[in-house]
């Protein structure tokens, strides 16, 4: 018996692909940003921190609406996309990736930033006096000591991208195999009063997310060195 239709499987696969790609890209781009936010004494820091945290408080439809405009043929992101020959980004998978990255940015940056702030300056100074250069220090000292923060960031970024709806609908629409993710698929089933399929997908997403978050909590509790709360408010 096949519980999921082929369209469901396509949506599940697309969702996992999107979430994985967004998490990886956000870790890569979010780490330098988190580093800067944790270390900088720049007067622009508060502005950057606020911008980073903005997706937390903004309705996804608002974010999605402006991203849609930006990614349209007349928008700045759309023009860049056209210039690269990738077409406008709206209603495309790359567009969805970019939108999801912006949407999940605070969930990745803040745990890393918190971990780096907790770490402080001292281990870096010690490493320098032991002859370790900056890159060496980052990989051999900073990364191992802030690992719980990175794991939190990856899991939260992944889980949060799995669950997004408003931004996806605005920016990606509902194109099967391209932008039709699980949450949108569920919405469609509900609209069509197909509650059985809606239940199946919803329950799967619920259980998967729960398992993921439970794993994260148990991991961060098991690590005896540092405890990172899943969420900490951005510092004023």
């Amino acid at each position: 018996m096949n519980l999921f239709s082929s369209a469901d499987w396509q949506a599940i696969w697309l969702t996992l692909k999107l979430a994985a790609l967004v998490s990886v890209l956000l870790i890569l781009l979010g780490t330098p940003l988190a580093w800067w936010l944790a270390r900088s004494r720049s007067r622009f820091k508060h502005w950057v921190a606020a911008l980073t945290a903005l997706p937390l408080v903004l309705p996804p439809s608002v974010l999605g609406f402006y991203l849609l405009l930006a990614m349209g043929p007349e928008g700045p992101l759309g023009k860049v996309g056209l210039w690269f020959g990738a077409g406008t980004l709206a209603f495309s998978f790359p567009g969805l990736v970019i939108a999801s990255m912006i949407y999940s940015l605070p969930f990745v940056v803040q745990p890393i930033q918190n971990a780096m702030e907790t770490l402080g300056q001292r281990p870096l100074e010690v490493a320098a006096t032991l002859g370790a250069g900056p890159i060496d220090t980052f990989f051999r000292v900073v990364l191992p000591l802030t690992r719980p923060g990175f794991i939190s960031a990856a899991v939260l970024g992944f889980a949060h991208t799995l669950g997004e709806f408003g931004v996806v609908l605005m920016v990606g629409g509902n194109i099967p195999g391209v932008t039709q993710v699980v949450s949108v698929q569920i919405y469609q089933y509900v609209e069509a009063i197909n509650y059985r399929q809606a239940h199946l997908l919803s329950a799967s997403l619920l259980i998967f997310s729960l398992v993921l978050i439970t794993l994260l909590y148990s991991f961060n509790r098991g690590g005896k060195r540092q405890h990172f709360s899943l969420w900490r408010a951005p510092r004023p």
């Binding site: 281990p123 100074e125 010690v126 006096t129 002859g131 250069g133 051999r140 060195r225």
Partner: protein
């Protein structure tokens, strides 16, 4: 900057209402102590020397190699130095052995200060090698941190109040290790402390810092016996004498050093061997003077000497005398009343009694 051996620094560092402005010269051997009260700028100075502080007007050179000048800045990780922080700063994610290996792996091409085994033996950390820092006491962590600093092949070691975070017993224990390192390895050290005890035991060269200014710097003996110097030693005023054990009296458990032929100092034998080099500290409050040779007293160390100078003290009741005995300078704290009664003046011959001699072997 002129080429010279040792550590030369010229700095002007400002932060809010604090200014650190001085020229420092630490010799290329032995322990140079930077001494001063809290808030004098000692730690900042040491961090500036190591390159950990972002100071603009700073010139630092070590044995002729420029570390920092207006034109260049050698990053900390490229300087041949070891640094011991006030609180033990081991990497929590690495075991003791891995912490040591971290330093060993990144050591430059300088000649080694000591081998891995030697460092482990010197600081007695062999039983700790497999443990993680979370399972070490404060003193153990600091010992590992010291061994780690040795393994990075430093040409000079900076220590920022390495005993400050420890209790008295641990302090004494780590001091013993530091003395051993000083004796065995002969790597120059710059040692920051506000404790006169630590300085007296370790330092060969002294720089006195107060409110961001250097009050004096020079070899410790000549500096400690100066009267005109506003060194805020207070109760700890005293001098240091280094000599070899010349006799051991097994019946009374006393040991002796000879200051000059016929002039000796006796003190408690702590299991010395003949000829062993010892460093003794004689506090001004333990020295008294007499115009005639004292007889039938309980004090064994009675030596003839001469008054070199008298200096008033912050408290109006006492006076500090600088004395010359058998080629050595001593300080004595006496009341102004006695001084008046005995009519003590500079240049006068006098008998000197030393009540107790503190040993820092």
């Amino acid at each position: 900057m002129k080429t010279a051996s040792g550590l030369l620094a010229k700095l002007c560092w400002q932060r809010e209402d604090f200014e650190l402005k001085l020229e420092l010269h630490c010799p290329a051997e032995g322990v140079s102590a930077i001494y001063g009260p809290s808030g004098a700028g000692k730690t900042t100075l040491l961090r500036c020397l190591a390159g950990l502080e972002n100071a603009q007007q700073l010139e630092v050179s070590f044995n002729g190699d420029c570390w920092q000048s207006a034109q260049q800045f050698l990053p900390v990780h490229k300087r041949p130095l070891g640094f011991i922080f006030q609180e033990p700063s081991l990497f929590e994610h690495l075991s003791v052995r891995e912490n040591l290996a971290f330093a060993e792996k990144r050591a430059g091409t300088n000649p080694p200060v000591c081998s891995f085994d030697q460092a482990v033996a010197l600081l007695a950390i062999k039983p700790l090698l497999g443990r993680h820092p979370a399972h070490l006491s404060g003193g153990e962590k600091q010992r590992v941190a010291i061994a780690r600093a040795l393994l990075v092949k430093p040409k000079i070691i900076f220590m920022d109040e390495p005993l400050a975070s420890l209790d008295m017993a641990r302090k004494r224990e780590i001091l013993d290790y530091l003395e051993k390192i000083k004796r065995v390895l002969r790597v120059p050290m710059v040692y920051v402390s506000h404790s006169a005890d630590e300085i007296a035991r370790l330092a060969d060269y002294l720089a006195v810092l107060d409110k961001g200014r250097l009050l004096a710097q020079g070899p410790i003996n000549s500096l400690l016996s100066r009267l005109d110097l506003p060194i805020p030693l207070g109760e700890d005023a005293g001098v240091i004498i280094e000599a070899a054990i010349s006799d051991i009296d097994t019946q009374w458990h006393l040991a002796k050093i000879t200051l000059s032929p016929g002039q000796h100092l006796w003190f408690k034998d702590k299991g010395f061997t003949m000829g062993q080099a010892v460093r003794i500290r004689i506090l001004a409050r333990d020295v008294s003077v007499a115009v005639q040779e004292p007889v039938n007293g309980s004090i064994i160390n009675v030596l003839p000497g001469r008054v070199v100078a008298c200096e008033a003290e912050p408290h109006p009741a006492t006076q500090l005398l600088k004395l010359h005995v058998a080629g050595y300078d001593l300080l004595a704290r006496v009341t102004r009343y006695s001084s008046q009664q005995l009519n003590i003046t500079a240049g006068q011959s006098i008998w000197i009694q030393i009540k107790s001699v503190a040993i820092a072997p």
